[in-house]
């Protein structure tokens, strides 16, 4: 993604002159006498996003080096938050990565689920499966339930074309396009037990 095209700020000192802080300091480099440590995000690829928590919609900037997320902070250009984030917003980095308390090394958050898991009837643990198996098996379950619980015409003779045996919850944590797909997908199965976080 070409960030400069979107008028995005650069994170190096030299080109920061356009930012709000530069006005505070004036154009001269006030820190020349000290040995200046390089910021760890220098040279990283940046992209913008919006926070996943509340409905304020704060902007954030993510820095990626060697394909890995190394920094996440508020987007200084965003009109709502102007670079700020709350504790949750700042912690979004942890959704993917944490620092190992023993070594201090960056690592994937060990709580993150990264494999397809299946729990068989009565089992006391998940087992790992692959995607192809899971999609096939899930489609079979949906079809079996749909076919068994489908109602074409109700007791008054009205065409209802609904599936009474499947329920769906969720969507507020998804992107809008995904939520739209979900809405359309579930209705195309005939599902009427549809609700999500907005209700509760």
């Amino acid at each position: 993604m070409n960030l400069s095209r979107r008028g995005f700020f650069k994170l190096t000192g030299a080109s920061f002159a356009a930012g709000a802080l530069a006005e505070l300091f004036g154009p001269s480099n006030a820190f020349a006498a000290d040995e200046v440590p390089e910021m760890r995000i220098a040279g990283a690829t940046e992209s913008t996003s919006i926070c996943c928590y509340c409905g304020v919609g704060c902007g954030m900037v993510l820095s990626v080096k060697d394909g890995e997320l190394i920094n996440l902070e508020g987007d200084p250009d965003h009109p709502i938050n102007r670079g700020a984030l709350c504790s949750k917003g700042n912690a979004q980095f942890n959704i993917r990565n944490v620092y190992d308390p023993e070594t201090g090394e960056l690592m994937l958050n060990p709580a993150r689920t990264t494999k397809v898991k299946y729990r068989a009837p009565g089992a006391d643990a998940f087992e790992e499966k692959d995607w192809d198996w899971a999609i096939e098996e899930i489609a079979k379950r949906i079809k079996a339930t749909r076919d068994a619980t489908y109602e074409t015409v109700d007791e008054n003779g009205v065409t209802v074309n609904r599936c009474n045996g499947i329920a769906q919850l969720g969507g507020a944590a998804l992107d809008g396009e995904e939520a739209y797909m979900l809405s359309k997908f579930a209705r195309a199965l005939g599902v009427v037990w549809i609700d999500h976080q907005a209700r509760i």
Binding site: L11, T12, G13, F16, A17, G19, L21, A22, L24, F25, A30, F31, A32, A33, D34, V36, P37, E38, M39, R40, N71, L72, E73, G74, P76, N81, R82, G83, A84, L85, C86, S87, K88, G89, N90, A91, F93, V98, Y99, D100, P101, G104, L106, P110
Partner: protein, 275 residues
């Protein structure tokens, strides 16, 4: 060059702890990964104290009232003193002032002696036993060098935290105190203008210093610090380290105070700095 400072205005702080997490995020500070490693703090303040991996916390203090409470918040982190006890105490020159006033520990030089820990009037530096090094806020010197605000400041939404030219921060603080007094906060005070030669974290304490847990008229306790050393390592070690420390002070021509060390009584005395 101009000195810079962080300004913390308690009257604008919502205690969201954005700064607290932003500090950990930018400075790559780990937190424990398992449930059993955490304890209940009996407060919204968590963790209760600074630590080698926690360089900034928001303190919460409650004063009960007939309707509601006074909930007094305070940013607890390094004040970056001009007369920095930690710097004076460091026997190996690992702690230094940057020209903007930030007080920074050079981890390559730190030997983990904890003199800084003992000497700080604000109880800020924290020693990591496993690494045998001491850690604290460095005012994100890498960011400020690149013209950016420290992570905590850039994360603050209400401008309870600001960063810039120290004189300007003082002017803003002074004006804010006047505003707050006019609005009925008659105990509102500014902190950091003169304390310890001038701090590089200025505070507007809208309910007064004590309500926010600030130490009125802080002193460098080097004498106390020396007393602390004796039980730590015995005379031999203390003397050795003292040699390092004193030679460091002398070599550096530290000009913010006068020191004398009496080997017979094993005490270091410090002349008060004139204000």
């Amino acid at each position: 060059m101009a000195e810079t400072a962080i300004l913390y205005d308690s009257s604008k702080c919502t205690a969201c702890k954005g700064c607290q997490v932003a500090c950990k995020q930018w400075n790559q500070l780990p937190s424990p990964l398992t449930n059993d490693e955490y304890t209940y703090t009996e407060s919204f303040q968590a963790p209760l104290d600074l630590a080698p991996n926690t360089w900034l916390i928001i303190n919460f203090r409650e004063e009960d009232k007939e309707v509601g409470i006074d909930w007094n918040f305070m940013r607890n982190s390094c004040f970056h003193c001009t007369e920095a006890a930690c710097e004076m105490a460091c026997p190996v020159g690992a702690i230094s002032h940057k020209e903007n006033g930030a007080v920074v520990i050079d981890q390559d030089k730190c030997i983990g002696c904890r003199y800084c820990v003992a000497s700080c009037p604000f109880d800020v530096p924290r020693w990591d036993e496993a690494k045998n090094k001491t850690f604290k806020c460095w005012q994100c010197f890498d960011r400020t060098s690149a013209g950016r605000e420290p992570a905590c400041v850039s994360s603050c939404h209400t401008a309870a935290l600001q960063f810039g030219d120290r004189a300007e921060m003082l002017a803003i603080a002074r004006e804010r105190v006047d505003q707050l007094k006019a609005a009925g906060y008659d105990k509102a005070e500014m902190y950091g203008e003169k304390e310890l030669g001038g701090l590089h974290t200025i505070v507007v304490a809208h309910r007064g210093l004590e309500a926010h847990g600030l130490i009125r008229d802080p002193k460098i306790g080097l004498t106390d610090f020396w007393q602390f050393l004796k039980p730590l390592g015995g005379l031999g070690i203390a003397a050795t380290v003292a040699g390092l420390g004193l030679s460091y002070f002398m070599a550096r021509g530290y000009n913010r105070g006068e020191y004398s060390y009496d080997e017979k009584t094993d005490t270091l005395t410090v002349k008060e700095v004139e204000k």
